[in-house]
């Protein structure tokens, strides 16, 4: 930041039309949902001719009056009508030629939304929920961004209670396990999964049973209220507290 440090406001204005400011900054959102037992991502058809027929993530340039999170939430709100969701920054992507029309550095976020709570104008906007494991090619470097965000989600999913946006209020352990399998991409042992989850102490047994299943109904659970919404707590290292200052 040294060079920037030395700039007074007047100087900033002087160079603001120079090359340094010919870099645009965007936010791209990997919006996950869970539908038909699959993990899906919200995509939009690219209308850049370079990427004809390909889909891209939802994103937009950052506006001067909004910070990064605000920009991400704006995109989410615009596209899904929802803003009460889990959202996390993953990484910045800044290869020189990642955007064919100019230099654009993008900051990737992922979020998890309940497909039932939102009203998409899917018909209007070339918007499309695509199962993640069926995606082959995407516009820009968005395939890489998607994979990076998915990997991050997979890392966090067992440690933090973040996926409950993707399920209805009340759910069975089977539903939860199927969701985890969709996210992780492999099958889990039912007994071990239940043990793992019960140790976490994230759920409340609400003393109700499934009633719409064609077999023995399972118990229904809710996420404990203290974990609702943005429930990311950092794990402590080695059981002890770290100290910075």
């Amino acid at each position: 930041m040294e060079k920037t440090l030395r700039l007074k406001t007047a100087e900033i204005e002087k160079i603001s039309h120079l090359d340094y400011f010919n870099i645009a900054i965007s936010v791209d959102c990997v919006i996950f949902c869970y539908h038909e037992k699959k993990l899906k991502v919200l995509l939009i058809k690219s209308d850049l001719e370079e990427f004809e027929g390909l889909y891209s993530l939802l994103g937009d340039l950052i506006r001067p009056d909004e910070d990064l999170e605000t920009a991400s939430y704006r995109i989410l709100k615009d596209r899904t009508g929802m803003d009460d969701v889990y959202l996390e920054q993953v990484q910045a992507f800044g290869s020189i030629n990642r955007h064919p029309s100019g230099r654009v550095i993008t900051i990737a976020y992922y979020s998890l939304i309940d497909i039932k709570h939102h009203k998409l104008q899917l018909s209007h906007h070339d918007l499309h929920w695509q199962p993640v494991n069926e995606i082959k090619k995407m516009a820009f470097d968005h395939k890489l961004i998607l994979e990076t965000c998915l990997a991050r989600l997979q890392q966090q999913v067992m440690d933090y209670p973040i996926v409950f946006n993707l399920l209805p209020e009340k759910f069975s352990l089977r539903q939860l396990q199927e969701l985890y399998e969709a996210i992780l991409g492999f099958e889990l042992d039912r007994r071990n999964f239940r043990k793992k989850i019960s140790i976490k102490d994230w759920l409340v047994d609400i003393e109700e049973m499934e009633n719409d299943v064609p077999h023995r109904p399972g118990k229904l659970y809710k996420l404990k209220p203290e974990f609702k919404k943005k429930g990311l707590k950092k794990k402590s290292i080695s059981g002890k507290q770290q100290a910075v200052s």
Copy 2:
């Protein structure tokens, strides 16, 4: 990226002097070293009047012809003369008012360098190695950035062989443990630490002994060659492979 998507090059030029491009992008590097049994960070005295007397991280605006990593390595090279180091992106910081002179979004990297291998012009440039646990206030939001990067380093240090840049080629297990304690901020049990490290299988016993210590000398070790330089491998989840496509 929808808006960006729709831009042709000509359109980009048209709006390139508008507000959207009045955001500057920088890279800030948290450069760690290990010296006198302390974890230290390379800082530079701020000469912004708003931050008189405070230090800031080393950073610079990103140039149009370089990607994010290149910019980080440039800063490292300029400031320390070294480019053969571990470097990792941590997070972007983009609060609206984080920079008093204008809108600057910054992408934070951290790196680990061996203080003995570099030639700083400490006297010239107001550069200064500051122990991390003695830092109280910094310019901009750099205290937050530092803490975020330190937390990331602390997360990774036990899982990946990344800290060996900070030690001489040959080192004893005691030296290594002291380094870990400096990074983590708390003491470790000697016997358990040695066990943990030996399980990792990162080190080679080079059949030499310390000879400059005023007590019983310990064995010396080297990092296995396959982990030299940038040795970050992602751990698999739950022992199985993930699949995206």
